[in-house]
Amino acid sequence: MIGVGKAKQYANVLDKPLSRGRQEVSLSAFAFLFSELVQYNQTQVDNIAELERRLEDAGYAVGARVLELLCHREKGNRRETRLLGILSFIHSTVWKVLFGKVADSLEKGTEHEDEYMISEKELLVNRFISVPKDMGAFNCGAFVAGIVKGVLDNAGFPAVVTAHFVPIEGQQRPRTTILIKFAEEVKQVCIV
């Protein structure tokens, strides 16, 4: 009668159901991996523009897969056909899954109709990186810009996405802005 009334004991540890696991990844592991990625690419290229392009390509592959995954997991049965819809999807859902929080802000550009900006006080990927003076305006946020580009391209909204530093008064480190410039055909087709 000893076994009665106890919770079910698994005879074999292999029979236990798998726990869902923690949904987080160690920040230091990612920081190391990312720094290796940047260093590896640095040895392969001759100039800054090429380095930025490589980081962007790496991010593009991530973005494509993140879009597939999130659309299956979170979005249920809906497809995004509107510009504002896909932008707010990136700004909240994608950012939440990748970085654990929503992006700081999403703004519409004032000079051009088809420019939008997502800003972040400090990009997670840039946290442990300091760019040497001789690299000029290089921003490792190009990786994140690549992710955004991957998501937009595969959702049917081709765009040019870049990352910029924007210096802010009263703050030591400049704010990072991801600038999204949509291609011509997007403006004509989509409803904002």
Binding site: A64, L67, L69, H72, N77, R79, A155, G156
Partner: protein, 143 residues
């Protein structure tokens, strides 16, 4: 009974095509899948109804041929899943369920870093999972 499933990319390039019958009419099934792509395009570009149903991923029965029914599903990245079945009465919920599991298997296959988007899906485990899903579809519709 499902006779064929197919995954077609956003430029209508085939990514995965698998038939589940012993009969030798694989070519005919390919042809049916190909024709159904036109139906999908027409549904997506000319919405019959207003906004609420515009964004649905599950497209439903695309068109019935003499002894097959073709169901379609469109993902957010314009990748299309097509399912050809000989069942006469397929419940909507069953078809949706099938596509949900199929979508999960597809997402896992695409997350493979060695998979090149736009090329055929070469993963054996994807094939195995699809076969399992197809087999369980048949038994789910009894009663």
């Amino acid at each position: 009974m499902i006779v064929c499933v197919a995954v077609v990319g956003h430029q209508n390039n085939p990514l995965y095509l698998q038939s589940f019958t012993e009969a030798d009419d694989a070519l005919k099934l390919h042809h049916i899948v190909h024709c159904s792509l036109d139906v999908i395009d027409e549904r997506v570009n000319n919405p019959k109804r207003s906004a609420p149903t515009l964004n649905e991923t599950f497209l439903g029965l695309l068109y019935p041929t003499e002894n097959y029914k073709v169901y379609g599903y469109l993902t957010n990245t314009k990748v299309k899943f097509i399912m050809v079945t000989t069942d006469l009465d397929v419940k909507d919920a069953d078809a949706r369920n099938f596509f949900r599991k199929f979508h999960a298997a597809y997402v896992d296959a695409v997350s493979n870093p060695f998979h090149v988007p736009g090329k055929k899906i070469a993963s054996r485990s994807f094939g195995v999972r699809v076969s399992t899903i197809v087999k369980s579809f048949g038994s789910g519709t009894t009663g």
